[in-house]
Amino acid sequence: MAESQMDDIEGARQRFLNHPFESKSFEVVADKLAQYAAACGETHPRYTDPSHEDFQATPTWCSCLTPNRLIPKDFPKFEGFSLDGGKDVQPLAPIRPGAVLTGESMVHDIYTKTGRSGRMIFIVSRMELTDQDGTKVAVADTRIVIREDPKKDGAGK
């Protein structure tokens, strides 16, 4: 395999990793938090009952906050099939109703792996959420998987 086969990945990493490209605001509404918790099967009133003294968002709630774009406008287009590779949330502080969160988006990681189907490219889109007081409350990652077209020359070798 030629060294140049990963140049596309290395180039994208150097150009895009951890450079914020979008900022978006989200208002935290009690009913929405409770609905999300119920939909997840959560039963603890801390998450389901807005009248509870410690009412707050479930730890994974911010995974439903979506930026306008997961990747920058000028991000390179990798040929292949795109798949949702799942989400990770790192909760850092309680999120409560009335808060106004600012989500700052960036590409956190780009990496590849090879398998039976060839090369797969993983793009980790990260949104760092900060409340109105400047406290970072969560980090939410969304993974995009691109399975390269097996017919493409060099793909997956």
Partner: protein
């Protein structure tokens, strides 16, 4: 002494098994292995200390790596800090010759994983790149193989005169121990594993684990 020489924990991005859960499963289901080797994808786990788990469950838990080359995936045993400086484990476009040379320089051992597998098995690339130098052992029994992939690996080993090892390639708990390697003597450390592999005193086996 029977060791599963190829497994992945949650340290690998596609691994779904915690090491403790492997241990619990082996004991609960009386899986016929004495231990296993964690060969995480594109990395070597320098941080984890599994000795308390090994002691608690009476198992040998060792560490290796699975790297990616133009010949597919290569298991590397005997990884040292110096070897980790010799090439970038994270890359998916390593040259096998570079991996083999680095292993020779640092006393490690490269063993092609699932060589009968399309795309990521060594056998799929011999027609294009030729028979690689510096390979003496391949993984002839892989627990994640489909169809005749292990037969292809066995054929390749017979043709080239390679020795064979076995590993489950487990990514989930219930797959641990599907394939393994039987050693003539005890193996209780990474150094002893390396020595036993280099001595060639072993055989690949399949185990009934269901």
């Amino acid at each position: 002494m029977i060791l599963d020489l190829h497994s992945h924990s949650i340290k690998s991005d596609d691994g779904r098994a915690k090491v403790k859960n492997y241990c619990q499963w082996i004991r609960k289901r009386d899986i016929g292995i004495d231990g296993f080797v964690l060969s995480e994808h594109r990395q070597f786990d320098n941080d984890s200390d599994y000795s308390p788990l090994a002691e608690e469950f009476g198992l040998t838990i060792l560490k290796a790596s699975e790297v990616e080359t133009e010949y597919g995936h290569i298991l590397v045993y005997g990884v040292t800090p110096a070897l980790q400086q010799a090439f970038d484990f994270t890359r998916t476009d390593l040259r096998l010759a570079d991996v083999v040379n680095a292993c020779e320089d640092h006393g490690a051992l490269p063993i092609p994983a699932h060589p009968g597998r399309p795309k990521v098995g060594m056998g799929a690339h011999i027609a294009t790149h030729g028979v690689p130098e510096g390979i003496r052992i391949v993984e002839t029994y892989n627990g994640g193989s489909r169809g005749n992939e292990n037969d292809q690996a066995l054929s390749l080993a017979a043709e080239q005169g390679y020795l064979g090892i076995g590993g489950s390639d487990a990514h989930i708990v219930s797959h641990i121990g599907r394939c393994a390697t039987r050693f003539d003597g005890p193996v209780s450390s990474d150094a002893e594993l390396l020595e036993a592999l280099k001595a060639g005193a072993f055989e690949a086996i399949e185990l009934e684990t269901e």
